[in-house]
Assembly symmetry: C2
Homo-oligomer: 525 residues x 2
């Protein structure tokens, strides 16, 4: 992806005039154009020269072939950092100091192993790179102590290795992007059902390494719940896990690799539980008088064992201004809180699920809005990052953050986060929230923030985000439900797992990566 | 429990005459009585003197009070080993060499911490002890390198610490036995729904430390899936985990503690997802022409998302001779394979679940047998270990073993295990099997073996069990689905996780327990 924008540059667009008018109403006159959707140049001067000389690179070229060791400006720029708003702002300011010195593109587990060996010999740090969609600084390795940094781009590893129809599992290579994986599985009538907002670009390996969670997690589960087997190339050798769906053979080491963010090794294969492609998809809207009522209804569905495939609930502010849908901005305000309910499966299963949820939600005070809001949500579900770019283009700062907690702590968490934002953002700001992932015992809260900073947005946001993180920690919630740790969340991971938990993580790191070459500085407190 | 028998000595019984007649038909004339149900003596001479002198014990007494540091023969004998058949045979042969030197009974996390500190200072090994129901040698710590072994009996820690009705979680102390935990939760209208065969004696801490799985796991999930939070006393300090139902904050360290079998520390609190007590319980029997047909039907239920609360399927041999039910031995042979299907919940949910499974199972070739087989199963579900004692009393060796794999590997696993047993057991033997736990991607296989060894049963069984373990490993299945590793399965855990997996386990062990005092020799390869 382009370092300054999300996704396809062809889809970059200016903010529609009616949306711009509303934005000016909310935040004051728009700035002169800060970003231009049509500008896709890379400023070569923003890149320091690669610190890897030809002699060093020849070792890599011998492993991978000359075509798969890249040092050109375009490649280095497009592998610089991830896609948090600060990442985009730095790129927009021509700050590419975190660019890797080279990009290597292995095609197999053995080539990954060869790269790791080479890096160990040369004191080079490795940053595993899939879709480059990380929003928590997970692609910014610590350079100190290393002669160079290479970005290990996995997107040539995109085979469907095996389909086991009887066990309903599929083994995939890590470089498959969401749509590529789904297309390969669809040929077999199968689906993962994993659709996070990053779906169009993020990869299988990245989903596993960061414990991704998709918008259909109520029905299909989190990504870590889909993983039944893993193959990992570590600096001390290969690790292959997954002898059964579940086991009592000691600690579950799959759960040590999931969430390890490249700090323990490179995931080179993932065996996943798959499902049959749904014959029918039915998304609908429900309206609730308030967030509390809708949240209690979701809790009731989860705890009675009747969750649909998709369920999400926007708070009053998010319902009023649906930033994910530029066309919708300024349309009639529904009032209350919008819930999206989706059912997928056989026609019988969809009918059964709809009947049960309709009965339960009606009984709990919800009002059915029919299929239009559901279809609109489904249509625009991957578009929000493009809108963010358009808003950044006119000087509006937009970012998201998320957390999760147990149901009894939901309101306290919501209050703590919104209060921290209120205290640390300019007076004119928007904070939108939705419940995005649901469990019997709790849920995640996903916040979207929009404001206009006067002065240094990066520093101002850093202060506000740190205050939010402190607030999350102060109520005992998790620092991240599905955005992972990266470098941004490390101090709060340390609090969350405590000194003994930190010791466990560091001990595993030291054992698997004694030279500290795997994504140094990321995740491990 | 008595070292020679399972459970309550009041429930120890001789084999009924009609069962004895059948056993003699199968295995030849019964031996003279080897064990007597009425004999509950402990042979003091079987115990070596405690290697802990009064001076050393005074330190413990200062922590816990004099009443909770025990060295009497009865206490030491009853904390010797677990309840595998080899454990019972050794005790029956007056072999109590693995008896701990003392039993300590803490009442709180802080007292556990004090014991661990004392043990570290004195070079004493600690064996955490809950129900004492382990069947894989997990209560037999390695004595070498330690001045003594203390059994850390957790059964005074039996409080229900907190009920969170909104989040549907309960925080329990580790020493609560299954029925005690259920009774406390029932006062709040709640249940764990965790009913392994060891239910009547095993404890919450043990369930967590060994990744137990109950007979209602299809509906309530494995124990590790119920755990949302953990408190652990380790030699390097306290570890508290569980900030949300699910998180992307690095590796899931809860899954490092679950299955750790006391080797990393002592679990002193467990926060668990709970469910409402079911208003209705309905268990029924289904008959299948063969094991394959029944297995495919279970797979179909699991993969269509319509698992009932309980599902298990006996193979032809287990269906013909239900060893779990002495009264049933010799009754009419149903033929084919018996499946138990149980539904629990509200009347509406039970009706809905029954309707769906009835439609699916009928369509797949099953024949409904009504509620009698289901009720009979439910009635006798915790009795098998008593029958084992009665059979051991007349010289019949009975033991169980279990494993799990993916569906496509089920038949190969079944064949490998039964063939290994056929080759290594005396000609006259029974091997019974059932599918006991079910997932979308696979299932567990639970085997019961009965035979009559001429000569040294311990050695003969060790040879046969090792061959079975090799067979399980050779087809890539897990060495244990819910019996854990203990000391018995260690060589096969090493194969299952490979050299890198072993390194991870040893690194965590070294970090958390640098002096190696926590259940030394158990689990870690």
């Amino acid at each position: 992806m382009h370092p300054r924008r999300w996704g396809s540059t062809q889809r970059a667009a200016k903010l529609p005039p009616e949306a711009l008018a509303l934005v000016e109403l909310a935040f004051g006159p728009a700035d002169d154009v800060i970003g231009d959707p049509a500008d896709t140049t890379i400023n070569d001067n923003a890149l320091s020269p690669s610190s890897l000389n030809d002699q060093a690179l020849d070792g890599l070229r011998a492993c991978l072939g000359v075509n798969h060791v890249l040092t050109d400006a375009q490649s280095r720029a497009s592998h610089t950092r991830g896609k948090s708003t600060p990442d985009l702002l730095r790129a927009r300011a021509d700050d590419l100091v975190d660019a890797p010195d080279a990009i290597v593109r292995p095609a197999s587990h053995d080539e990954v192993t060869a790269i790791i060996e080479w890096a160990g010999q040369h004191g080079v740090a490795i940053v595993p790179f899939g879709g480059g969609t990380c929003v928590t600084g997970g692609l910014v390795a610590r350079r100190e102590g290393h002669s160079a940094i290479v970005s290990l781009d996995l997107t040539r590893m995109k085979r469907l290795i095996e389909v086991d129809h009887e066990s309903m599992t599929a083994t995939l290579e890590p470089g498959l992007r969401g749509p590529e994986a789904e297309a390969l599985l669809a040929e077999h009538g199968l689906t993962l059902g994993h659709f996070p907002q990053s779906f169009e670009y993020a990869t299988i390996g990245g989903f596993a390494a960061t414990r991704s969670s998709g918008q259909s997690s109520a029905g299909y589960g989190r990504f870590d719940a889909m993983v039944v087997g893993l193959r990992v190339a570590t600096p001390i050798g290969e690790l292959t896990l997954g002898s059964a769906p579940a086991t009592a053979a000691g600690p579950d080491l799959r759960q040590v690799i999931l969430g390890s963010e490249g700090a323990f090794g490179v995931i080179t294969g993932v065996r996943l539980r798959v499902r049959r492609l749904p014959e029918e998809l039915s998304y609908e809207g429900w309206s609730w008088p308030d967030f509390e009522g809708g949240a209690q209804a979701i809790r009731s569905l989860a705890q009675s064992g009747h969750l649909p495939t998709v369920i999400r609930l926007s708070d009053e502010a998010e319902t009023a201004i649906n930033l994910a849908d530029p066309e919708g901005i300024g349309s009639d305000n529904l009032g209350g809180c919008l819930m999206i309910v989706g059912h997928e499966g056989t026609p019988q299963d969809v009918a059964r699920s709809r009947a049960i949820t309709t009965e339960l939600l009606s009984g709990l005070g919800g009002s059915a809005l029919g299929s239009t809001p559901g279809e609109k949500w489904s249509h625009g579900r991957f578009d929000a990052p493009y809108l963010r770019d358009s808003l950044l283009d006119v000087g509006i700062f937009v970012e998201t953050l998320e957390t999760a907690t147990f149901w009894s702590n939901r309101q306290a968490l919501y209050d703590a986060v919104t209060e921290a934002l209120r205290l640390h953002l300019p007076e004119k700001h928007l904070v939108l929230c939705h419940i995005s992932h649901v469990y019997e015992t709790g849920c995640s809260l996903y916040f979207t923030v929009a404001t206009k900073f006067s002065g240094d947005a990066l520093t101002s946001w850093h202060v506000a985000k740190s205050a939010v993180n402190d607030a999350i920690a102060s109520v005992g919630a998790t620092i991240t439900h599905h955005h992972a740790i990266g470098t941004d969340h490390k101090p709060w991971l340390a609090k969350e797992v405590g000194p003994v938990g930190q010791s466990i993580l560091r001990a595993i790191k030291q054992e698997l990566d004694p030279d500290g070459i795997m994504n140094p500085g990321v995740m491990i407190p």
